[in-house]
């Protein structure tokens, strides 16, 4: 079978951070970590080409992923391997996006990276195999990757036991029993004491430790934050309407209100008619100022923080949360009211 390997500029031997802007290129056969992969896969399979790209270029240049994918596609691979990317964020994202794009076109692809790599969330329907955290763990990481690739090439499945991480796509299948009979089976199982039986796994969420309560509100600086996408009317910083990759801050130090016409919501997930009629429906500055003047709160933070919560990836949302908390701590705010849409 024909295999194409995708790696970054560092593992291709082009250079380190100084070469992160290198555009995509292809080389015959296996390069760097691909050599060990080729050896482990044996004579039945061949790493026919290696495609590499600088991490900055791959993750920020417009059209870079398409370019990489077309170089790979030209090799007519039976399967594509990307990484391992370890905990390197940009490399992981590049591997994930390349693999996701290929799988969406019907080309099987496997990416390898560490569980914590943000790329895990972006691999679409591609298989992601666990790697170590750092390049020092290349050996065992390649061993695991090669084993998973061999299984896939043999038409077998790759599961948790094989080091699979990330999302596993759910596909429609026809089964013997109609849903109604399965529902009655399930209700009888529940009555029989089985609390775990289900056809749809419940979503798992990170445990959140609640912050300690505020003791004296009249001495506390309070911040207003929102994922309701309220921005100045011109949207000067180009906040996205969906799938946010960033958050923004706007000064409200010298304002008592957010008039219609000066602010609007660019949220793409609901009708913004009401928000635009009165932006306080998203960021309640008018009332917050009143509470500040009355001395109910010690003060109102000089800025409100904003992003858009609409199809935002969990990884990005987690990052925004961490950054917001750090930012507010630095600025002295000790409580935040998050208006959620």
């Amino acid at each position: 079978m024909r295999i194409v390997h995708y790696i970054n500029q560092f593992f291709a031997g082009v250079g380190g951070e100084d070469a992160a802007g290198t555009p995509p290129s292809r080389t015959d056969g296996a390069v760097g970590p691909g050599r060990r992969l080729a050896t482990l896969l044996g004579d039945d399979h061949e790493v026919v080409a290696t495609v590499s790209c600088g991490d900055d270029h791959a993750t920020s240049a417009a059209g870079a992923i398409d370019e990489i994918v077309s170089l790979i596609r030209a090799e007519q691979p039976d399967l594509v391997v990307a990484g391992p990317a370890f905990t390197s964020g940009r490399y992981g994202l590049a591997c994930a996006r390349v693999a996701a794009a290929l799988v969406a076109e019907g080309v099987p692809a496997v990416a390898a990276m560490h569980d914590e790599n943000p790329g895990v969330e972006e691999a679409g329907a591609a298989v992601v195999v666990r790697s170590g955290a750092v390049a020092r763990e290349m050996g065992p990481s390649i061993d695991r990757l090669a084993a998973a690739v061999a299984r896939l090439l043999a038409g077998e499945t790759v599961g948790e036991a094989d080091g699979r991480i990330g999302k596993v796509p759910r596909r429609n299948v026809l089964v013997e029993k109609p849903a109604a009979e399965r529902a009655v089976d399930l209700v009888l199982a529940r009555l029989g004491g089985d609390r775990s039986a289900t056809e749809v796994p419940l979503p798992r969420f990170d445990p959140v430790t609640p912050a300690a309560p505020v003791d004296d509100l009249s001495k506390t600086m309070v911040a207003l934050v929102t994922e309701g996408a309220l921005v100045p009317d011109e949207n000067p910083d180009r906040l996205e309407s969906a799938r946010a990759t960033k958050w923004l801050r706007y000064r409200i130090q010298d304002r008592d209100s957010l008039p219609a016409g000066e602010f609007r919501s660019v949220h793409g997930g609901f009708s913004t008619v009401w928000a635009n009629e009165d932006p306080h429906r998203i960021v309640p500055l008018d009332v917050a100022r009143e509470l500040e003047r009355e001395g109910l709160i010690g003060g109102l933070h000089d800025e409100y923080l904003v992003t858009v919560g609409n199809g935002t990836s969990v990884a990005d949302a987690r990052r925004f949360g961490v950054e917001w908390a750090a930012d507010l701590r630095r600025s002295g705010a000790r409580a935040a009211i998050l208006t959620a849409t």
């Binding site: 009401w274 306080h280 998203i282 309640p284 009332v287 509470l291 959620a340």
Partner: protein, 62 residues
Amino acid sequence: MSIASRVGAPRIVPTKGIPYPAGDPSVGTNEERAWRRRLLERALEAVCTPVSKPTVFEVEAA
């Protein structure tokens, strides 16, 4: 709101609707502003209350 609880948000104040978390377009301007004030007061009570798990702080009817 059930989503907020489910993802583990510790202190939750239920609002009138997704497109207007701090408002209520179904009532007049003064009434809406009074509602917003009650919402914020309730939110501030919430941050002063110890909680150990997702807890809902309903706004009492006026």
